[in-house]
Amino acid sequence: MRFDYFEPTSLDEACGLLREGAGARKPLAGGTDIVIQLRRRAAQCQGLVNLKRIPGLADWSCARDGGLHIGACTPMRDLETAAAVAGGYPSLFEAIRVVGSLQLRNIASVGGNLCNASPSADTAPPLMVLGATASFRNDDGGQESVPVEDFFAGPGASVLGNAGLLLSVDVPEPAPHTGDAFERFTPRSAMDIAIASAAARVTLDPDRDHIEAVRIALGAVAPTPIRALRAEDLVREKEPTPEVLQQAGAAAMEQCNPIDDIRGTAAYRKELVRILVVRVLRRAVERARGDGGTETP
């Protein structure tokens, strides 16, 4: 595993280096995906462009009314240890907390998790339900934003193309009476990749009886993380009774399109989706009602 190594100190320089590479160079954030892929010869590239010395790219902030701003290179552990993230965006906190190990999360970035575009990327479902947008430099150096749910193009592929760079992910401040939750299933309880995951966010009416708005996203059960739109339709404007949540679980199960692989069969993953969707909806509703306590880091 040998490659050219670049350490740009500005965005323009980084984009220029990637453009020159014409696909033969890749960005390097934490390296927890790309370094292993190169060592295993699962990825080919002649050069790595380290993004971590570009000012601002690893900065994050959480402001009242301003939502959560996550620079692409922010190590996951930074967010995990921030009370504002655990309290304000519990689904994202729950997803980050189970990624690899603590020593991994000190280097693995949120941006790398999205750009690696694995169907099982754990931060994707929560960011999708939280309505996050991804801001990036496109192949030509122009700046663009897309909702995170439109960021993925297939396993390992995103809208970025050869020379694109993800700059940040921005999560809007949640509306009142809103709760969110994430759960995943792994055969081992630590250091494993999800064979199915789900996140949900619900906003209740001011009386906290009915679901006004809802988003459900699933991981590891389709070529990209997906929204479970049919399941959302079944709970919107409804009272979140156990029956309604069960119906949503069943609909999500029908909508997903998992594969059989070494980690689990398609049938097993579908069954997991049904259960996980019910659980995340239930917990999101509890939080929206204000009676589901969040853990602190």
């Binding site: 927890t32 190990s101 020593q103």
Partner: protein, 165 residues
Amino acid sequence: MKQRYVLRVNGRDLEAEAGAHESLLDVLRERLRLTGSKKGCNEAECGSCTVLLDGRPVVSCLVLVPDAADRDVVTIEALAEEGVPHPIQRQMVEQGGVQCGYCTPGMIMSAYALLRDNPDPTDEEIRFAISGNICRCTGYGKIVKAVRAAALEMKEQSGNGGAAS
């Protein structure tokens, strides 16, 4: 293509010739001969390569050496002070937390970072802090016990220190 890197390891500036593709772990082990950090998997799964980078525990097998340049690296070799083992090291020995010993340095580094930030952890918190370190011998029980005992010992030490001054 090799290059000269300066690494601040255990408080000293050390120079190493290495390629940019080499990991911090390989440079520590092969070039600087600091072999306390172990290579159990080279893929961040096992945690036996854990070192502190700017104070944070990281898997040094996935840190490329240019990323470690000009930053503070602390390895297991620095924990004992003037030949006196760190309380975690001593308790790992006394409580039977060391068997084959291969996971031990990485395990101790994770525990060290924990106790620095949280001097009075619950067993749950200890288990969480070492959950990225695999041990195949002990079953973890005695390691958790050792970290708990070390926390107590460190608290007593600092208490005594306070009383004496």
